[in-house]
């Protein structure tokens, strides 16, 4: 099933677990999407294997970036009617705090959706949404 078909089915059933069951990267890392009211929260489950720094230990920056990018794509695909898969043009990740081996939650905000390009901002946090671990902004090709 294509990514857009998975999103469509998830929206119909109000259950996004179908994404993590079918997308290898999400399954391997333990990324899940949950809906709270109208809000989509993408979560990376705590797992010591995802550490980059073995001494603290702290999450690998690439995994934080991967979660943020995933959250943006899921939000864009969820919001749109068309069948075109949003494709990443670029992302800029700003690392603000150490990501510990705890669940990491991300929330995406579509700043602007153009006909061809969308701009998305994403923040992620662990215990306190007021203390973000990292933030990202990115451009995505919509058609």
């Amino acid at each position: 099933m294509s990514f857009m078909e998975l999103i469509k089915r998830a929206k119909e059933n109000q259950d996004f677990s179908i994404l993590s069951e079918n997308i290898p990267y999400m399954k391997a890392l333990g990324i899940n999407v949950h809906q709270y009211g109208g809000l989509l929260i993408t979560t990376l489950k705590a797992n010591p294997q995802l550490a980059g720094n073995p001494w603290i230990p702290a999450l690998h920056g690439g995994n934080i970036g991967g979660l943020l990018e995933m959250a943006a794509i899921v939000q864009l695909a969820h919001d749109q009617e068309s069948d075109d898969l949003p494709r990443t043009i670029n992302i800029t990740v700003e690392y603000l705090r150490t990501g510990f081996i705890k669940d990491l939650h991300a929330k995406a905000l579509v700043t602007k959706r153009g006909r061809r390009v969308a701009n998305v901002q994403v923040q992620c946090w662990q215990d306190d949404p007021g203390k973000p671990v990292a933030s990202m902004h990115g451009h995505f090709l919509m058609s």
């Binding site: 290898p24 550490a51 980059g52 720094n53 073995p54 995994n63 043009i89 990740v93 690392y95």
Partner: protein, 165 residues
């Protein structure tokens, strides 16, 4: 050119279990080359890390991880040995999708070291280095004790020239 002594030191340092990055081990990241302020790594293709099981194209997150790792490694190579650093920011431009079933290589170049911050460029590529799949620009913070003059003193001199902010 390879800085053999530095490469041996880094490879030896990373071969100890307590210094291994669990995620780098998980994706099979290998150091291929180390020079002054430069690093090259490889990551084998893995079906279970694809972003889409139909196409088998690796997820962007794996490219992000590889570029973050190689950029960090080039900073370590610029600073002349193992030390602790933290990514401040990382920008990635995705130039084209990765070809399924082909390994990914990444090259990072730390072109400027200052007292607290290091500046890096990197690319990810597959069979042809002149046709990169992604481009990265990153800055790293030196978090080790002795940040400042001491760390910079050990850094490769040509990278640490000039005023520091």
């Amino acid at each position: 050119m390879t800085d053999k002594a530095l490469m041996e030191r880094l490879v030896h340092f990373r071969s100890k279990p307590e210094n291994q990055s669990p995620f780098a081990v998980y994706i099979g990241l290998k150091i291929l080359d180390i020079d002054k302020g430069e690093a090259t790594v490889s990551v084998p293709y893995a079906e279970h890390l694809a972003g889409n099981s139909l196409t088998g194209i690796l997820h962007g997150g794996i490219i992000t991880t590889t570029l973050d790792a190689v950029c960090g490694l080039s900073v370590i190579a610029a600073l002349g040995g193992p030390t602790t650093i933290a990514t401040l920011d990382l920008r990635i431009d995705y130039l084209k999708p990765a070809t399924p079933k082909e390994d990914v290589f990444a090259y990072g170049h730390c072109y400027k070291v200052t007292r607290n911050v290091c500046f890096v460029r990197g690319i990810a590529y597959q069979s042809d280095k002149s046709k990169p799949i992604a481009n990265a620009t990153a800055t790293f913070m030196i978090t080790a004790k002795g940040t400042g003059k001491e760390v910079q003193k050990n850094a490769q001199p040509e990278l640490a020239q000039g005023e520091t902010k």
